[in-house]
Subunit: 508 residues, 2 copies
Amino acid sequence: MKNVFAFGCFALLTAFLAAEPALEKIRQYRRANEHRILAEYTQFLAIPNVVTDTVNIRRTAAFVAEMMRKRGIEARLLEAATPGVPPVVFGEVRTPGAKRTVVFYAHYDGQPVNPAQWAAGLRPFEPTFASAPLDKGGKIVAAPQSGQAIDPESRLYARGSSDDKAGVMTILEAYRALVETQLKPTVNLKFFFEGEEEAGSPHLSEILDQHRSRLQSDLWIICDGPVHQSGRKQVVFGVRGDVNLEVTVYAAKRPLHSGHYGNWAPNPAMNLARLLASMKDSTGRVTIEGFYDDVVPLSESEKQALAKVPDTDATIQRELGFGRAEGGGKSLSELINAPSLNVNGLQSANVGSMASNVIPTTATAALDLRLVLGNDHARQTEKVVKHIERQGFYVTRREPTDGERAQYPMIAKVSGKSGYNAQRTRMDLSVARSVVAAVQATVAEPVVLLPTSGGSLPLYLFEKHLKTPTITVPVVNHDNNQHAENENVGIRNLWEGLETMASVMQMK
Amino acid sequence: MKNVFAFGCFALLTAFLAAEPALEKIRQYRRANEHRILAEYTQFLAIPNVVTDTVNIRRTAAFVAEMMRKRGIEARLLEAATPGVPPVVFGEVRTPGAKRTVVFYAHYDGQPVNPAQWAAGLRPFEPTFASAPLDKGGKIVAAPQSGQAIDPESRLYARGSSDDKAGVMTILEAYRALVETQLKPTVNLKFFFEGEEEAGSPHLSEILDQHRSRLQSDLWIICDGPVHQSGRKQVVFGVRGDVNLEVTVYAAKRPLHSGHYGNWAPNPAMNLARLLASMKDSTGRVTIEGFYDDVVPLSESEKQALAKVPDTDATIQRELGFGRAEGGGKSLSELINAPSLNVNGLQSANVGSMASNVIPTTATAALDLRLVLGNDHARQTEKVVKHIERQGFYVTRREPTDGERAQYPMIAKVSGKSGYNAQRTRMDLSVARSVVAAVQATVAEPVVLLPTSGGSLPLYLFEKHLKTPTITVPVVNHDNNQHAENENVGIRNLWEGLETMASVMQMK
């Protein structure tokens, strides 16, 4: 198997059939344990896991440690040097004779929640089953009772159900499946479950440094993010970097009656709108000077892989219900190889039933920048700041003082955590080819190989601190509402994810 | 007194001194009753008065009726033909020999509240005293105890404290002051307290028609809005019309991970920003086609009055803390004679600690249009809708269907109640001159005469349904945060308002 990209259909089928006995054992195990697995998973999902909820995030970590202990893995909490940081839950299993060591990564924390935005009948931390996606006619149903068949097309709704407690669950359950079916891992296994990924992993460097010797390995398998929109499994060799910025535009210090002051007092919402509009053209191209500079072009093998990615754009667009994509006709998989700028949210005074006839005092936009290989997060941020200044704003990092308010016609506060850079692993590494073959062994149709995911994880840290490559093997459905209300996971994805992880643990 | 605009300083002083005995009696009455007045007023302010709170809005009406009964005025609730509408609280007092009948108008309902936005220690319906404005170093203080001097520079914070329970309170207390000091009104008095002004007075027409004969008069005195920013009393001859619109821009049907879909899935917040930015230029001039057409120019006397309005722009700008006014150098009092377009609020997904890396599904802007004489509310709205269409949006009044989503590249829902037109009373009417003289009799410095207020009330209805002119005599401070959080009234404004209303009741 000289080149993973040369897989023919026949070769695929041969690999699939050869792997079948092990795969079939894993399936039998799963069929016999579905109820137990879901019972444990709903318990896990019921623990709030927002990183700012310091009590519950520790409870979540303790639950993960207990899951490991139940599987015979000695669990340790790897603490950061900084006190109060959610710990990494870590464990390891030696495999006699193994030549490679693989760390399986997932994160147990989840995105912030606004329960008011969730659909009727759903609460972020009350795991709820539905017969199908609720936005496609699914209905809320009771949790499956013992003896009752579990529909693989049903969904389980909760914060973290996809992102990324599903990673923790499928990894640990895959290990249990191997043990109980007496299948043998081929590599030494390490388990590394992070607790502040959704906060931007601010202490991951610290933890990697602190526990460097314990974390030595040949590869990190990152189990996070969705499978391909076509439903096909995928292996992803990189991630985009990420920067979160918040821009607040100021006007009068107190809210003003829009009748008595309108036409005269500046309107921060309008000034923010003008600023945002200056950042992108109507095709979605970012118009900030130098925004697309620095990008490292794709290699030939990466271009070839990209050309084979199934084109599901029209289907997804129909499903998502919008009439025109941005990007001037380029495909989604092509566009995620470019840096991006997105508005994540807007807020100024009130709308709807709370709206009143005021000129607001401030208007805020939450922005995120996605970075690709070559972009530096500080340099990319600086381009945005320079752009805001070029639009006539005085840019500050703090609330403006009275003096600043008097001096500058327009003021914008730019705040935000520091971001991180993109990372990309070469597809032709030997260990990369092993991972692809292991995932391919679980399915007949070709696995999608992506040079980079659209999403972000601070994977550059593993390269920087441990000199170890990372490969992402996602398991959850693409329509999972991760990072938003109504997050959910497809039951089928849990089952298939278990097979994927078990196969990777047995990679050749 | 041939021309109210020819007042010289000497004439002013003469008028002021002549009125003094009556004025002095009112002051003595007030000094003796300050604690009782504020006790009643805080009780009044403690009743929630948001129009959608159907139970409490009736409680508020009942309280107003009781205030009237305590003053010996028979109170009636004038109901609309439509059931469930907050009633008008009405009463009348005949004055033997009077030739004119004047209706005193105020409204007892208030703007919607978002308690979370109020300053620490304040709640919208827990009236709270402060030693001075909280944003100028004032501190929260206990309600004045009997025997304790009341500082006229202190403030009372609560929703409705200025807009417009202050109108109800000063009118009714002025009447009580006349009765108790045995001063005689010179006109027949009618009292008309509306209960859904902040909702746009949707049933006022119905009520005026329903009770037309009871409401016959020579003039309506509208006690609403603030005195001039200079602190001087003012008489206002018109109001701007108002239209509230809400524009919602649509994108994908479910929130998307900004990494996996950014650069490809359209961003509604960015599209809304581009749309808003297309509506005004950087000087604040509205760029919607024909926006400034239809405006009836000011008459010569109106222009003269406008030229005499004290120029407080620089002071207010300093106080409000912004560096550059819109309007290309024109004065605030000049600019409110033009139609306006304001963004009242923006909302799309979340910002701050609730922000997450999503592409939102929708983005909404609350807009209000202020209209001046000559603008028609439906025509002005149509100009905005046409503009949105010209920016490439398909405009709908409902949630878009799947078919519409598939068909149109950009979709905007425009929703909103119907608005109403501006109104302006001629300054040279005999009754107008009487009102100006009565207000002038309470102060030495010249009363400011404004052709129109910046704010809006549906005063055109009184002209349309009853053929009766209206003149606005405001009492509250200009820095009252009406329509926003931290609404407050200056105690001095309550005392001076009482004098104003008592003098108008005795107009010559």
